[in-house]
């Protein structure tokens, strides 16, 4: 079942490569929408199936002599992210119905990216995880370089590739240490969790955690490894930015809860305070730098640093045993996972909205726009909703997540939590300022080459994609139980593993 979900997009991508590029572009975009819809339906079926622990496990020996197997399965931590991936790719496929540039390769790349993203979240083998991790970098590189904005996009793509590839290799080094520490040697995540090979900490555990932590921190990204992110986001096409922010960044934070915490519990407890500090710094630094941006897409990119900082704070707090009870740590963990989903939905929508802005005005500079609300009320309305959702207003998914993180982290890291709450204030300020600059005041449009063009409101396909994401974020904000019921048992299990 999971293999079907993972490889369906890849198979369709391969089939599409055989279709001549001169075929009508509807063939490609239509196929993409159809595949994404089918994939989402399959994920919903998995979601509704009963069971606990790792479900839908499949395990086939792959390279038994080096302890590598094709092992996939989902639990309450990975399932929400698998669902998020399916939703986001469906939204992007709908949004991309209006794409005209080299549609064949564009769709094939996205389908391949979809396959590796889904694969990463179901992987239960470190090398399988690494394989999908690396391939996501390769495909995203081609997306940014091929469909981004000109020469700067290629520089940004190169920077993205080099940074995240370095991170991935650090990760690989950590995996190798884990592999050699386990007896018998294995890369299997479930076996490694059970074996706890580096129990008791020590230099090897510290080295493994350092390597894995740096690798994941680059991808997340946290301060100070975030510098690849703003150019990559700014230069990528809108759908690419949305996937990058919503899915690829989660690969980093997901790695913490799937690999670093359960396999290295002792080391994690020992160094959890580092994660807390890095998280808080990311929260505050990301928010403050975002505040200083004049480029709306860059601003949103920096709010990603801020939002992922909350996740790191949450997982760090879950590792600090002193001064907190198990329930608080569980709450922080649940909040961290929820925040991954919430940030994916909301920031995905925001990046698609900036794509709309660029499509009409050819610039992201906030100063070039003014008073858009009068001309494009729907766009303004949706943007406002997305902005409010992003700054953590109650009623949206982000609030649920951040509330849980703060409540869970308060007992064990009171100062850090208090500082992080201030981050919300800054994000509120920056989003309100952006809304005011772009949408209110006298109407002014950028006079880019080729204008005057009609500055059209949202097209139906764009509306469907973006509103769909925001609607889901609202549903989670109002009725979070269906999501939390899935996450909570898994985070309870995770917290027990960390505390062992």
């Amino acid at each position: 079942m999971l293999s079907v979900i993972v490889f369906l997009p890849a198979v369709v991508a391969a089939a599409l490569l055989l279709v001549p590029a001169t075929a009508p572009r509807r063939v490609f975009t239509g196929a993409w929408v159809a595949v994404s819809a089918v994939d989402l339906a399959l994920v919903v079926a998995v979601w509704l199936a009963p069971g606990s622990g790792f479900r839908f496990e499949e395990r086939v020996a792959w390279m038994p002599s080096v302890g590598i197997s094709y092992h996939v399965g989902v639990d309450g931590i990975s399932l929400p992210l698998v669902a998020l991936t399916a939703v986001l790719f469906l939204a992007c496929s709908v949004f991309a119905l209006r794409e005209t540039r080299r549609v064949k390769s564009y769709v094939a790349l996205f389908l391949a990216l979809q396959a590796v993203s889904l694969g990463l979240f179901v992987a239960l083998d470190l090398i399988l995880f690494f394989l999908f991790f690396d391939l996501s970098i390769v495909f995203m590189y081609f997306l940014i370089a091929g469909w981004g904005h000109g020469e700067r996009a290629r520089a940004a793509a190169l920077k993205f590739f080099l940074y995240t590839f370095l991170g991935s290799l650090a990760l690989l080094l950590g995996f190798i240490v884990l592999y050699l520490a386990a007896e018998p040697h294995t890369f299997d995540i479930v076996e490694l969790i059970a074996a706890d090979p580096l129990a008791g900490g020590g230099p090897a555990a510290a080295l493994a955690l350092l390597a894995i932590g740096v690798g994941l921190a680059v991808k997340t990204p946290t301060v100070p490894f975030h510098t690849w992110l703003p150019p990559a986001h700014t230069e990528a096409p809108a759908t690419g930015s949305a996937i990058l922010a919503a899915i690829l960044l989660k690969m980093g934070t997901y790695g913490f809860v799937r690999i670093a915490m359960p396999i290295l519990p002792d080391a994690w407890r020992q160094y959890a305070v580092v994660a807390v500090v890095v998280g808080v710094v990311s929260v505050l630094y990301g928010a403050l730098v975002a505040l200083a941006q004049t480029d709306v897409k860059r601003m949103i990119a920096y709010t990603s640093v801020n939002h992922m900082g909350y996740v790191i704070l949450g997982v760090g707090a879950a590792g600090i045993l002193a001064g907190s009870d198990e329930q608080a740590r569980q709450l922080a963990t649940t909040g961290a996972v929820t925040q991954m989903v919430a940030h994916g939905l909301i920031t995905g929508a925001l990046f698609l909205l900036t794509g709309v802005l660029y499509d009409r005005g050819r610039t992201y500079d906030m100063a070039a726009y003014s008073g858009l609300a009068a001309r494009t009320p729907l766009f303004a309305g949706v943007f406002a909703v997305a902005a409010f959702a992003s700054l953590g207003l109650p009623g949206f998914a982000g609030f649920i997540a951040e509330f849980q993180i703060f409540t869970g982290a308060l007992a064990s890291a009171p100062v850090a939590t208090a500082l992080a709450v201030a981050g919300i204030l800054v994000t509120a300020a920056l989003f309100l300022r952006a809304l005011q600059r772009v949408f209110l005041g006298p109407e002014r449009l950028p006079d880019a080459p080729g204008t005057p063009r009609p500055f059209a409101d949202l097209h139906p396909s764009e509306t469907a994609a973006i509103v769909g994401l925001l609607a889901l974020a609202t549903v989670i904000g109002i009725l979070p139980r269906f999501l939390l019921d899935v996450i909570e048992p898994a985070s309870r299990a995770l917290v027990e593993l960390v505390a062992r």
């Binding site: 080096v66 391939l135 081609f142 590839f165 290799l169 240490v177």
Partner: protein, 472 residues
Amino acid sequence: MNENPAALLPELFLLGAAVVGLLLGAWLPRDRQWLVRLLAAAAALAGLVATAVAATRPDELVFGTSYAVDIPTHATRAIVLVAVLVALALSVDSTAGHRRETEFVVLVQLGALGTILLGGANDLLLLLAAFLLASVPFYALAGWDKTSLGTEAAMKYYLSGAFLGVAMLTGVAILYGVGRTTGYGPLREGLAAAPVAAAGVGLVAVLAGLLFKVGGVPGHFWVPDVTDGTPPAVAAIVTTIPKIGGLVAMYRLLVVAVPADALDWPLLVAVLAAVSMTLGNLAAFFQTTVQRLLAYSTISQVGYLLIVVAVAGRADLAQPALLYYVAGYAVTNLGAFAVVAEFPHARTVEDYRGMARRNPALAVALAVCLFGLIGTPPTAVFVGKLVVFTAAVDGGFAWLAILAIVNTVASVFYYLRWIAPTFRGADFDPVALQPAGTWSAVAAYTCAAVAVVLGVLGGLVLPLLVTPPIPM
């Protein structure tokens, strides 16, 4: 006695086809010389079958103890013969109907024969003979084109080979002098009791010759000039085939003949590995011609391969890692060169601009091969690197693994400098991207496919490579 020629069937096939091919080529008309190539391909296929059959039999030493027929030899034979087949295919477009087509084919076969002997040699004298047999045909091959650059390349290749070959001869003489034997097994006992300084000098001199063969620092000076100065087909062959046997020879020599507790060769090889990969990568950074870029890339790849030689005998995974990485490297590198051979007029990376537009499938094959050389999963070199790094950490050379990782990241930069223009832009230069024919392209597709399949099916191949070389 164990002088059973049947144990050397793959080698004899190569030799026989070379001799018959040479005679055949002497009276065949120019447009019929493809028969020689066909004969060579048939001999390689027959050799593969013989290798497979031999692999089912127990390991043995033949002709005294001078030649080992064991897993490293079987692997060397298989990889070299496959590489010969690919080399024969990718060179069709540029050499078919050439006045010296027969010579080209025969030289490839003889060089391959020497390479296989290098891998199986279990005696210093045979090692030296194999070194010469693996070198002389390739010197001639480098000058085969008779262009001024090609002649210069052949000259440089020959001179550095002659110099380091003499060094190797000296080394063999010294090791014989202090170890009192040339057979690897007895030499181990002899060296354990020998004066360390003399044994060290001898070993370093022997390694110098082998480093020349594989193109590792400090025997790498010929690599860029020869690779850049010869036609792509020749460049593909000289950067790939000698490495296969050379690395196995180094591995076998160090594991079987040189006790690590008497001489600290692991550290020596580790330093050579570190310098090779770093220097190769740094020099590749700003190369603009593709052949020079691949030349430096091949030096850095030797560095990664030497890592496993450094932990040979100390990590369980060392031997499978070495043989698997060599196999993966061979197909991947040949695949990249096959693309170069397909566009002989495209000298620089910029000439490849828009290639994806003109020939998307070939662009994908090139991307697969270059990402393969970087070590991106799921290609063969990735699995190779994974086991190499694991073996390095296991063998106590974690710093080398970290250095290799840093180098890998650095290498991304120059491989992407080639990939990026290939996929960029709508216009292409029809003169530069004039295809040479279909054979090179087919070779490129095949290599790219094999690189991926070998990466995915690593689980089937790795267990076959585990049995260590037989000691006596």
